[in-house]
Amino acid sequence: MLHIYCPHCCEYREEEEFHVKGQAHLARPLDPDACSDKEWGEYLYFRKNPRGLHHELWVHAAGCRKFFNVTRDTVSYEIKEVYLVGEKPSVVAHSGSAK
């Protein structure tokens, strides 16, 4: 069970207080109507499944109910950093290492 630092509550809490919402940084296209079916399909359904660093969106569901981002190693389950929505991760996979 993960121990997750909530950047809003500023302390570690148990995983059971959180919901994971999947891949982070999925920006809704600004003009959906201009998207082709393929582009919209990519936005809707296609997700990364890396072995290694993964940027995920989480919400502190039972706590402050704020969303935030988590960079997690999918092999070791280490959380490398948490950062706010709208921020960029500082820990990123070296090119080629994510498959």
Binding site: M1, L2, H3, E14, H19, K21, A27, R28, D31, P32, D33, C35, D37, W40, G41, Y43, L44, L57, V59, A61, R65, K66, F67, V75, S76, Y77, E78, I79, V85, G86
Partner: protein, 1005 residues
């Protein structure tokens, strides 16, 4: 029965407290301080079960968690039955009732034993796969026989009378194991002021010190253990957990500890006490001081009762005052097991010989053996033993220098006990739970914990140092290291002096060769619990299983409840040899939680019965109960389902409730509807983005129905949202969808549109909501309010603030029944008051309470959908015939708009929601029934959609249904057929889902 193997003195047992216990129906005596295993050995019980596959008689091998054979069924009553209890870990108590788990019809006379004896070829590895998978139809027959014969224990058939606790713990340092290393670590961290949890699976602390006659500071080791334990117990932030097995090591230093509070006292916990506690621990640092398990050697017939681990024999003698036999032969690869011979001799029984596999053992232990006059047979091994239910003799042969072959003649000696040592395996199980791969260490001749991302330290035997001095020093060092990492003081504790001896190099040997080929030699067991033999592993390798994970699954090596604690290393060594690789090249399998079996009770805790899941109640719940409601679960809510009167069938109740509502007035407790308060100047804009329809022009005082879709265009919730003020709305959601919708709104606000000035607040529980519905609902409301609620002043889809029964209320003129309706909302603290006042005034209108079932019927008569019943995530608004609720003109591309424009969403012949009228008006179609256009088509018939809602309508006098039908909206008047499981084929006509009042006149009066 006398305790023929009990010594007159010695051990940590209390001879003044005799205890009686039952094993397989017979009464025996033991003492306080015994385990079930030590008491059985004291009584000379040799056979404690039958093996899993071959049904061979088995005896006690070990003295701790690693015991593979003595897995017992416990329990004096049906309700207190516990399977899979290791006798070596079960403390004896007065009246304990135990039985052998394996063995049918009995342990001593076992039909299945014949299978095992007839020949080794009969049940080779893969036997189940090879034999029983064909013919497949026979598997169930075989399975029953095999399972019964194998005897996997039996679970209780009655409810467990005990209670169990689950508790969350947090600490700076969790120390696993209270042997010398763990005690030193805990003392160091404790003195630094750290929050420490020290857990040990045994009844008392001391670990390896409990089973030896070793001294510390020149005194018996128990004194030092007691002093340290007492000091720790006096520390405010130190928690000591004996009888507590750390069973799981999960991510980020989350560990589970299974504490047995009363299993040592009685069959059933004393009143007011929890039988077991599951601690869920989050530790900043973990020190694993889990020690090591001695490895037995693998030789012919090594499973005959009397074959034991050397250190276990010493433990029984030193800790329990039990000598488990009369004539001992020791076989060892190292100096350590010599002590077992000495312990045996000191206990006054005969040591026949020490068989050392080393060609030329030297040193103090050899000298001591010689001084004691014990026969030492060097460079040899026991190749097999004689006997069936007890060892009667051993065959010894000289071995080659590397131990790979027999190179001498065979000598036979008489003996009833064989104690072997093939070295020690660090207990690395927990260290591997979070994915760390163990690393082979040549010097230790065993696997050590590999590198880990966890904040974890190791100390003592788990780290490969098997000396007491080393354990103490490493423990203290681990304590200091943890403190340093935590930014605390790093106290230096005074370590006791030990009496170490110089050990001479051990020989790395696992499998004693036989004069015959392994495949033809007497069975050489590697994994006792799953009857895996050396020959079986070699066969698996010959059949092409090379990966150790495949060998494990094919042979079942390490698959038992003991998880291969004894046999894994030997098994891997044999597989390595068979495939011509080294052990590190072969690798090891992965250990997973739990280390030893955990009861379901401990996992469940108090989350059972009434507390299994939260039950949510509205403010009027008590009234519903008192008025005979039957309840339906809607999410966690308990909603009135219907209110039967005496003598009524369910259908009669529903008919009455439906008619009363349409003819006069009914009332529904709608408090469970999700309610979200929305404030901010951009609230309106936000609504326009998450609903499919338009919100820009909704005036204050007005209500509007909306559909909510996902980005894929599919409907996921619906409800009425009302404009309370220019910047203020209240949204309602389905009862089950409230939390999901709230999170959805927050998700979009926080991640996509944070610039919109809007806030959301859940107010579901704040408002009691009661809907009065029917032609007399206005009259009833007028009796309780001074407000003008006429159609002119308070129109359909308006809301007004007014007092109802003296209570400030918001009343919404919205309708889910198609009747004139008023939805009264008051602060929930006053909900029951208003509800009761409505009934006081409502008697003359025959005010009738109705539940969810009548609600469903009434709305279905009107063709209103229920999201989640008539939708399933695959239908968009146009599929529902609700294109009127989609505004394609809105400037912002609302959620769902692009999704429902995808190629697949706009194609012809999608499944669409329509009404269905059965040709026979009395037939009510079952919900879920699949429709076909041609009932005579060959099976499998093309299915065209299913029934989503179906009821008997008392108001209409015929059945009504809604369902999805391919291209249904263009097939009005056509027939669909529903072939049912009972053979009937029901014919129905596609029609509008609005069965009643299609112009909507009734709700508008």
């Amino acid at each position: 029965m006398t305790q023929k193997n009990r010594l007159q003195t010695g051990g940590r047992i209390n001879r003044s407290k005799p205890l009686s216990f039952v094993y397989n129906g017979k009464q025996f005596k033991g003492f306080e301080g015994d385990t079930l295993a030590s008491a059985m050995l004291a009584n000379g019980i040799d056979v404690i079960g039958r093996s899993f596959k071959y049904s061979r008689p088995r005896g006690i091998v070990a003295a701790g968690a690693e015991e593979p054979n003595a897995v017992m069924q416990l329990g004096a009553t049906e309700a207190t039955q516990v399977p899979n209890v290791r006798a070596t870990q079960q403390e004896l108590f007065e009246g304990l009732v135990s039985g052998a788990t394996n063995g049918w019809p009995s342990v001593d006379n076992d039909l299945m034993g014949i299978v095992g004896k007839v020949g080794g070829k009969m049940m080779p590895p893969g036997f189940y796969y090879k034999t029983f998978m064909y013919p497949q139809s026979m598997w169930e027959t075989y399975e029953k026989f095999i399972r019964k014969a194998a005897g996997l224990g039996s679970s209780p058939l009655e409810n467990d009378p005990d209670s169990y606790e689950k508790i969350n713990q947090h600490c700076d340092v969790l120390v696993v194991g209270a042997g010398p290393a763990g005690l030193a670590a805990a003392l160091t961290a404790g003195r630094a002021g750290a929050r420490v949890i020290l857990a040990d699976e045994q009844s008392e602390f001391g670990g390896s010190l409990l089973g030896t006659r070793e001294t510390l500071n020149g005194e018996e080791a128990a004194r030092w253990v007691a002093d340290v334990t007492a000091e720790l117990a006096g520390m405010k932030d130190v928690m000591l957990l004996p009888r507590s097995t750390v069973n799981g090591y999960h991510d980020h230093n989350f560990l589970t500890i299974h504490q047995r509070n009363t299993d040592h006292i009685a069959d059933k916990a004393p009143a007011g006490q929890a039988r077991q506690t599951l601690h869920r621990v989050r530790a900043k640092w973990v020190v694993l001081a889990t020690g090591a398990h001695e490895r037995p050697l693998v030789y012919g017939n090594n499973d005959v009762p009397g074959c034991m681990i050397a250190s276990a024999v010493s433990t029984y003698i030193n800790r329990y005052g039990v000598v488990p036999g009369n004539e001992l032969v020791v076989m060892t690869t190292n100096d350590g097991a010599y002590q077992t011979a000495f312990d045996w001799q000191d206990a006054g029984r005969k040591v026949v010989a020490i068989v050392d596999t080393r060609q030329n053992p030297q040193g103090a232990q050899v000298a001591e053996a010689s001084k004691r006059g014990i026969q030492l047979i060097k460079g040899s091994g026991i190749i097999d033993v004689a006997g069936s239910k007890r060892v009667t003799g051993v065959s010894i042969a000289a071995l080659s220098a590397d131990g790979s072959a027999v190179n001498g003649s065979v000598t036979k000696l008489s003996a009833d006990t064989v104690a072997t040592s093939g070295g020690w395996s660090p207990v690395i199980h927990l260290a591997g739970h979070t994915g760390s791969r163990p690393v082979w260490d040549e010097k230790v001749a065993g696997f050590l914990p590999g590198p880990t991302v966890e904040k974890r330290l190791i100390a003592g035997a788990i780290a490969g140092d098997f000396t007491t001095a080393g354990a103490l020093a490493q423990g203290a060092e681990a304590g200091r290291k943890a403190c340093a990492e935590l930014g605390m003081d790093q106290p230096i504790i005074e370590l006791p002096t030990t009496q170490e001896r110089v050990e001479h190099p051990a020989m790395t040997l696992f499998h004693i060769p036989h004069v015959k080929k392994t495949s033809e030699a007497p069975k050489q067991f590697v994994d006792y619990q799953n009857d895996v033999t050396a020959a079986g592993i070699e066969l698996a390798c010959r059949e092409g299983f090379e990966s150790i994970e495949h060998v494990k699954r094919y042979t079942a090596l390490g698959f038992g409840t003991d998880q291969g604690k004894l046999g894994n290393i030997a098994g891997m060594a044999i597989a390595a040899k068979a495939t011509g690789r080294t052990i590190p090249e072969t690798g090891t399998t992965i250990f997973r939680p739990n280390y030893t079996p955990v009861t379901f009770g401990a996992l469940v805790g108090r989350d059972r019965g009434e507390l299994f899941d939260p039950k949510r109640y509205t403010a009027m719940h008590k009234w519903h109960v008192e008025n005979g409601a039957l309840f339906e679960d809607v999410g966690q809510w308990k909603r009135p389902w219907y209110f039967p009167k005496a003598g009524e069938t369910m259908q009669q109740s529903l008919d009455r409730e439906c008619k009363a509502t349409r003819e006069s007035v009914g009332i529904l407790d709608a408090s469970t509807l999700g309610k979200i308060d929305i404030q901010g100047k951009d609230a309106r804009e936000f609504l326009g983005r998450v609903y499919t329809n338009a919100w820009a022009k909704l005036a204050v005082g007005k209500c509007r129905y909306g559909l909510m879709c996902g980005e894929d265009g599919m409907v996921f919730d619906d409800g009425v949202t009302s404009c309370l003020g220019e910047n203020h709305f209240i949204m309602t959601t389905t009862s089950g969808g409230a939390a999901r919708v709230y999170e959805w709104l927050e998700l979009y606000h926080q991640t996509e549109w944070p610039e919109l000035e809007v806030y959301f607040n859940t107010v579901t529980d704040h408002w009691s909501t009661m809907t009065i519905s029917g032609p007399n609902s206005r009259k009833l409301l007028e009796e309780l309010t001074d407000a003008d609620v006429s159609n002119e002043n308070f129109g359909y889809m308006d809301w007004r603030e007014m007092k109802v029964a003296g209570v400030p209320a918001r009343v919404f003129r919205i309708s889910f029944t198609g009747e004139l309706s008023f939805e009264i909302n008051v602060q929930a603290n006053f909900g029951l008051h208003v509800w009761e006042k409505l009934f006081e005034k409502g008697a003359k209108y025959n005010l009738t309470p109705y539940g969810t079932e009548t609600m469903h019927i009434l709305r279905a008569e009107k063709g209103f959908i229920i999201a989640g019943q008539d939708t399933d995530g695959s239908v968009h608004p146009y599929d529902l015939g609700m294109g009127w609720a989609v505004s394609q003109q809105k400037p912002f591309s609302f959620i769902g708009k692009r999704g429902m424009a995808r190629e697949d969403c706009v194609r012809d012949n999608r499944k669409q929601l329509v009404g269905l009228k059965t040709t026979d008006p009395s037939v009510v179609l079952p919900e879920g029934a699949q429709g076909v256009f041609d009932p005579k088509a060959p099976i499998p018939m093309p299915m065209v959609g299913h029934i989503t809602s179906s009821y008997w309508s008392a108001n209409l006098g015929h059945s009504i249904a809604m369902g999805l039908v391919k291209g249904g909206l263009d097939r009005m008047g056509e027939k669909v057929y529903y072939p049912l499981a009972d053979g009937r084929v029901v014919e129905a006509e596609i029609c509008s889902p609005i069965f009643l009042d299609p112009k909507g006149e009734r709700q508008n009066v």
